[in-house]
């Protein structure tokens, strides 16, 4: 049996998805089966009229006048403009069998009708109405179509012009139906199993591209909200981005909002939408738009970018070298240049700039100076968001914190926060059973010192990691290798990665 896997044809033994691909759809991450329902559909009753002055399209309705036009189309192909006035253009003459009438009728603008010159059956004319008017046309209610495209030609036609050709326009539209599958479903002949979406990114909006590539770094994108125009992912909502050159949003475009409450949200468009300054268009979908179009909010799909993200922060120097060699760009090590040194800075940091530059410089530090952390995203969602924003972990794999207070006699270490941002940090996940060593605490909005981040080296029943009482402390996570924090001094910067 012939089937397609992500548009690639293949011969299949069997009729199950498992016979085509190893990966299986799930309830959370379904596949979409694309099935052609009819081979093609011919849209009829549309004619292109070729004249000396240009082409125009007429769309006809089925009635006896249309039948006459169709039967005698060869006659109509050689007609000349007999007269053109402010109301009509008239091509003649065609012999008809129509009964003449002297009644007058109201004709709409751009109507296509049959008429009789001098009320003579043998002098049939094809009349195109240039404006709404009332006239005696010789035949009763003989309108059979309308000029739909190229209407400006009607004003150009004069008595020296003629029809060169009339062609029936064939518009073939292929009809597809889509089935969302969540298990090893049965497939039919010629089914296309769409398992992933492939995207390409644009150079014009490098920050939006970086934002998008970070969001899809795991190769998966979730749909949070959806309507007929777009679907959106709000995972990185709240992340600030600069305003970049705004481009038109086409069907399949991926844009990142750069202003307002929804800044940082990523949109996939199903219909064309005009450009807007608050949207930076990062790329477009090359294949697999059917996945986001057919999935429901809450479901996820695989996504793959043709352009690989080039960000080596948090990696070892040797890993960065392997990546740059694979991509084919230069690499220079500075700082700690050991193979095992962890990269804390990359210049340029943005993927598109790095690729344009064809070289990156990476600064390494001793791996012992990088701390592994675990965050309690379920228990303290707002505090986690605050912590990620302060450390930069929202859009990077490696974050940093500046030390505020550290002393060898002090049983804890404190880091700088953002008092303004912490103004909305309500109490959550308070360390009710005492503050455990290694836990990361944030002083919440209930205290004047709000926003400060701290870690305690020993358990305390009385005070939280920032020295405040428990009610003023939000517990956001823990440092795995916290004992090494004792060596950190005031003014230092520490680096964090997820365990």
């Amino acid at each position: 049996m012939k089937a397609y896997l992500d548009y690639a044809p293949m011969d299949v033994d069997g009729d199950r998805i498992s016979d085509v691909t190893d990966s299986m759809p799930t309830q959370e991450m379904p596949f979409v089966l694309e099935r052609k329902t009819t081979k093609s559909m011919l849209i009829k009753n549309r004619y292109e009229v070729v004249t000396d002055k240009g082409n125009f399209i007429i769309e006809t309705t089925n009635n006896k006048f249309h039948d006459f036009f169709k039967e005698n189309i060869e006659h109509f192909k050689d007609l000349k403009v007999q007269w053109a006035d402010r109301n009509t253009v008239n091509f003649g003459y065609v012999p008809t069998r129509m009964e003449p009438t002297r009644k007058q009728y109201d004709y709409d603008k751009y109507s296509v009708l049959l008429g009789l010159s001098g009320y003579d059956k043998e002098m049939g004319v094809l009349t195109l109405s240039k404006m709404g008017h009332i006239s005696r046309n010789g035949i009763e209610k003989s309108v059979f179509g309308k000029v739909t495209k190229g209407r400006h030609i009607l004003d150009l036609l004069g008595t020296n012009d003629k029809i060169k050709d009339i062609r029936e326009v064939e518009v073939r539209s292929e009809q597809y139906e889509y089935e969302v599958v969540t298990d090893d479903a049965t497939i039919k002949e010629n089914d296309n199993i769409i398992t992933k979406t492939v995207i390409d990114v644009f150079e014009q909006c490098p920050f939006a591209v970086e934002h998008l590539l970070f969001l899809i770094r795991d190769g998966v994108l979730a749909i949070d909200k959806k309507n007929i125009t777009y679907c959106r992912n709000d995972k990185l909502q709240g992340v600030s981005l600069p305003q970049e050159s705004s481009l038109e949003r086409k069907r399949g475009s991926i844009s990142v909002r750069n202003a307002g409450k929804g800044k940082g949200s990523v949109f996939i468009y199903f219909r064309d939408a005009i450009e807007d300054k608050s949207h930076s268009v990062a790329g477009n979908i090359i294949n697999g738009l059917e996945l986001p179009m057919n999935l429901k909010p809450g479901q996820r799909f695989k996504i793959e970018s043709k352009t690989e993200r080039l960000n080596t922060l948090g990696l070892e120097q040797i890993e960065a070298e392997k990546i740059t060699k694979r991509i084919g760009i230069g690499h220079e090590r500075i700082g700690d240049t050991d193979d095992n040194a962890i990269i804390i800075e990359q210049d340029p940091e943005i993927t598109m700039d790095a690729k344009k530059n064809k070289k990156i410089v990476t600064k390494g530090i001793d791996p012992n100076m990088v701390f592994k952390i675990r965050l309690f995203e379920d228990k303290a969602p707002n505090s986690t968001k605050y912590f990620k924003t302060i450390t930069g972990l929202t859009t990077r794999q490696l974050g940093s914190l500046d030390v505020l207070v550290a002393h060898e006699d002090l049983d804890m270490i404190m880091f700088k926060g953002d008092q303004k941002m912490a103004g909305e940090l309500a109490p959550e996940n308070a360390p009710s059973n005492g503050s455990k060593k290694g836990r990361i605490g944030i002083t919440n909005m209930a205290s004047r010192q709000r926003g400060i981040i701290g870690v305690r080296f020993n358990d305390s029943e009385e005070y939280g990691p920032t020295g405040e009482d428990m009610y003023h402390t939000n517990c956001v996570g823990e440092v795995i290798n916290f004992e090494k924090l004792r060596d950190i001094k005031e003014g230092d910067t520490i680096y964090l990665t997820f365990e």
Binding site: G132, T148, I228, K261, I274, E275, S278
Partner: protein, 301 residues
């Protein structure tokens, strides 16, 4: 195709409505905050309005369709003297403004008198610059029949109003208006004004359908916003320097001062002068921009 709507609701969380309109590909045309309330006039493609209404209902606001919001309509009286002008012309104008239209009242120079009535060529060109016209005539059938011949030339949608309830043989006629000694505020009069509006709407819908069948190179609302940004012509509550038309815009600035800048504006990747006809208006020396159709430009014909 874009349609014009107005959101009426509270200031609270109105920024979410603006963001949703932008996300859906709509355009904010005007914001009018009034203490704790706000009116937002915006353009949005018709299928998207259902989704937006889910949000506005949640915010206890409402979205109202203003069918003539992207139109400039001429209300033509035979003269501006008290013999013809009050009150139907003002009532018609005021009534259509409620549905979003920009209306211009035009008094003809030779409009009085059955035998000497005429609409000059310049007047015809001024009226034809509008998206639609309403001719407000008098009480006598014979007089209207003669004056009607002068309006047959107009290619724009028009409605003819007059005193007799019914006159056969003329197009788009609505009776029971004629000359009125007072305001048209009785229920009967309001029904008559509704009939004028509905007839005009029917014709305008046909024109919209024609435009959607043979789309313009760029939507006029988009051209308006781009020109406002490019030329620094943002409107205020009292002044709207760029007026929307169904097939273009009117830039209410002197032709000699600004027409070259308008033509050279790059909008949607095109030079505006290449995708539109830019002409001097016969009305107050303003600039008329009429967008060319895609088929005319050989795009997707």
């Amino acid at each position: 195709m874009f349609k014009i709507y107005v959101f009426k609701g509270g200031i609270y969380r109105h920024d979410e409505v603006i963001e949703e309109i932008e996300d859906l590909g709509g355009i904010i045309l005007q914001k009018m905050p009034m203490q704790t309330e706000i009116d937002i006039v915006f353009a949005l493609e018709e299928p998207d309005i259902e989704h937006l209404e889910k949000l506005t209902k949640k915010l206890r606001g409402e979205v109202i369709d203003i069918p003539f919001g992207d139109m400039e309509i001429a209300i033509v009286a035979p003269s501006l003297s008290r013999h013809h002008l009050p009150h139907p012309v003002c009532d018609l104008s005021e009534f259509l403004r409620r549905y979003g239209s920009t209306t211009n009242i035009i008094g003809l120079a030779r409009g009085y008198g059955k035998t000497i009535f005429q609409i000059s060529d310049k007047e015809k060109r001024i009226i034809s610059e509008h998206d639609a016209a309403i001719f407000s005539y008098g009480m006598f059938e014979e007089c209207i029949l003669i004056k009607e011949k002068e309006v047959r030339d107009f290619t724009i949608p028009y409605v003819l109003c007059g005193g007799p309830s019914r006159i056969d043989g003329i197009r788009n006629y609505i009776g029971d208006i004629g000359r009125k000694p007072g305001r048209m505020k009785s229920s009967e009069d309001i029904k008559t004004l509704e009939r004028v509006k509905n007839l005009l709407l029917e014709m305008v819908e046909k024109k919209r359908e024609d435009i959607s069948n043979d789309p313009l190179m760029l939507p006029p609302v988009y051209v308006k916003r781009a020109l406002e940004d490019e030329l620094g012509l943002e409107g205020t509550l009292g002044d709207n320097p760029i007026v929307l038309h169904l097939d273009g815009v009117r830039v209410k600035k002197p032709f000699n001062d600004l027409s070259i800048k308008v033509a050279d504006s790059i909008i949607g990747g095109h030079r505006l002068g290449d995708i539109a006809r830019i002409t001097r208006s016969n009305m107050n020396d303003t600039i008329i921009v009429k967008m060319r159709t895609k088929s005319e430009m050989g795009v997707g014909a």
